[in-house]
Amino acid sequence: MLNIPCPWCGPRDETEFHYGQEAGVAYPENRDEISDELWAKFVFYRANPKGWHAERWVHSAGCRRWFNVWRNTINHEFGESYKPFEPQPKSPA
């Protein structure tokens, strides 16, 4: 089980959290004008790297707040976590 560093509560068991995939995916601008291709990217395409991945979690059974964290998808090691709208720290790689 993962031990996930919530930036508000500290490290907690994975079962207290829900996963939110890639961090920092913004709702597109110029929504009336963008192509189907860009909509497809926004709706369906998410990063899937082998290695460090900036991702979102929500501490649903704790403080119930969303946050972002770096995690390595090869060995499940965690890097720095950061709150929504905080600048993304550099990848630990």
């Binding site: 089980m1 079962t15 497809a40 709706v43 369906f44 082998k50 991702e55 998808t73 060995n75």
Partner: protein
């Protein structure tokens, strides 16, 4: 002392290799990246049906050592939409003659697959599926709880459990096969026709000129090819990135487990999406169980034990007789999930580069059908009627093939 004794023990002869160990040639007509079930099946049908024998299968680890060795071997075709019914039913028909076709024992056993419904809405969804299968001429039956009990006496159909059994769909032609033997059978038959099967050969880059694939870079040197097929399952995103495009795949761990060997108590396959478990009993007697994926992206081939605990508690409620069975072994594979729970099989933005991925949590059943349509796609440069709908473009056009309901277990 121990050493002395060891020396006197004669080791048995190594059994004959089923295929020849080869180093890569400088160039091929086609290269298949990925030596799992789908890659080997692609090679087999390319050689057998399209006469392409100057081809190679490149496997970064050992043959059939990824998801092919990590699944729960369930085979069925009772999906919801026309496209899925088409490809999975074609696959099931190939399974029905596969041992004779390939010339290798695979312990294919049509013992039926039962999918339980546990709520009013669950019953409606499964009924819809059952009628859709009827329209598509796919064998499907609707079972009452009493009929469920008749086929599988170990199921708890009492109404005082959290998710009582309210009915089930049943596909009698569905079943299981012995996964390793399927990989070996395909590999042997392909190898006998002249296909080079190269293990420990990891693709590290793609050679592309003017938007056209020329070959691949590997840890055993560059290998040129007219055509390249990417059949990398959980690693498909990594391969696509080497070729310069992105695919809508998320790689997740999917765990399964077996119990110790037990007397035969279950001679069919039982799935339940709602209580989150699927179970069959292998020929030797171990109970084989699986459930949903772990929540997060991963390439680690392992997941959290709480997921195993969750699926075991579901199993024990449905099958009280399993309560004192011992867990023998658990493992994880990396499954390539798509937004609509359907595979991506077809062309890519790079010319002569083909993609077969996204089989997610249910790829084993698709092995023959997937290889068959992929071979057609590689040989002719065009998708077959059966995989036309499974193109990469559908995420742009919106023509999704939403199989989240029929994919068996919610992930």
């Amino acid at each position: 002392m121990a050493n002395k004794r060891l020396r006197t023990v004669e080791l048995p002869e190594h059994p004959d290799f089923l295929w020849t160990q080869k180093s890569p040639k400088k160039s091929y007509d086609a290269i298949i990246v990925g030596g799992g079930g789908h890659g080997l099946a692609t090679a087999y049908y390319l050689a057998k049906l399209h006469g392409m024998t100057n081809i190679a299968v490149l496997e970064k680890g050992w043959l059939g050592g990824g998801n092919m060795a990590r699944n729960t071997t369930i085979i069925r075709s009772n999906y919801l939409w026309d496209e899925s019914e088409g490809i999975y039913e074609h696959s099931l028909k190939l399974w029905e003659g596969l041992q004779e076709d390939v010339g290798y024992e695979m312990f294919f056993s049509q013992r039926g697959v039962m999918t339980l419904a546990h709520s009013v809405s669950d019953v409606r969804t499964k009924m819809r599926n059952y009628y859709a299968n009827g329209v598509a001429d796919i064998d499907s039956e609707w079972l009452t709880p009493a009929e469920v009990k008749k086929i599988a006496p170990v199921v708890n159909i009492s109404d005082d459990i959290r998710y009582p059994v309210m009915g089930a769909t049943y596909q009698p032609r569905a079943g299981i096969a012995k996964h390793d033997w399927v990989a070996w059978g395909y590999a042997k038959a392909a190898g006998d026709m002249g296909v080079d099967i190269i293990q420990n050969c990891e693709v590290t880059g793609m050679i592309i000129q003017d938007g056209k694939i020329q070959g691949v870079q590997t840890n055993q040197g560059d290998i040129l090819a007219e055509k390249v097929a990417l059949v990398g399952a959980g690693h498909s995103s990594v391969l696509a990135e080497m070729a310069g495009f992105q695919i809508p795949i998320q790689s997740r761990p999917l765990q399964a487990l077996v119990s110790e060997l037990l007397e035969q108590v279950l001679d069919t396959v039982i799935m339940s999406g709602m209580v989150h478990v699927y179970v069959s009993q292998a020929h030797k007697g171990e109970l084989v169980m699986g459930a949903g994926t772990d929540a997060y992206n991963s390439y680690a081939q392992r997941g959290g034990f709480h997921v195993i605990e969750h699926q075991l508690s579901a199993a024990v409620e449905l099958f009280p007789i399993f309560e004192r069975a011992h867990l023998l072994r658990t493992w994880g594979g990396i499954v390539d999930t798509t937004p609509d729970a359907s595979p991506i099989v077809g062309l890519t933005p790079v010319e002569n580069l083909y993609l077969n991925c996204g089989w997610g949590t249910g790829g084993f059943k698709g092995t023959p059908g997937s290889g068959w349509v992929m071979a057609h796609t590689v040989a002719t440069g065009q998708p077959h009627e059966l995989n036309k709908g499974f193109n990469l473009n559908r995420f742009k056009t919106g023509h999704l093939i939403d199989e989240h309901g029929a994919a068996g277990v919610a992930h």
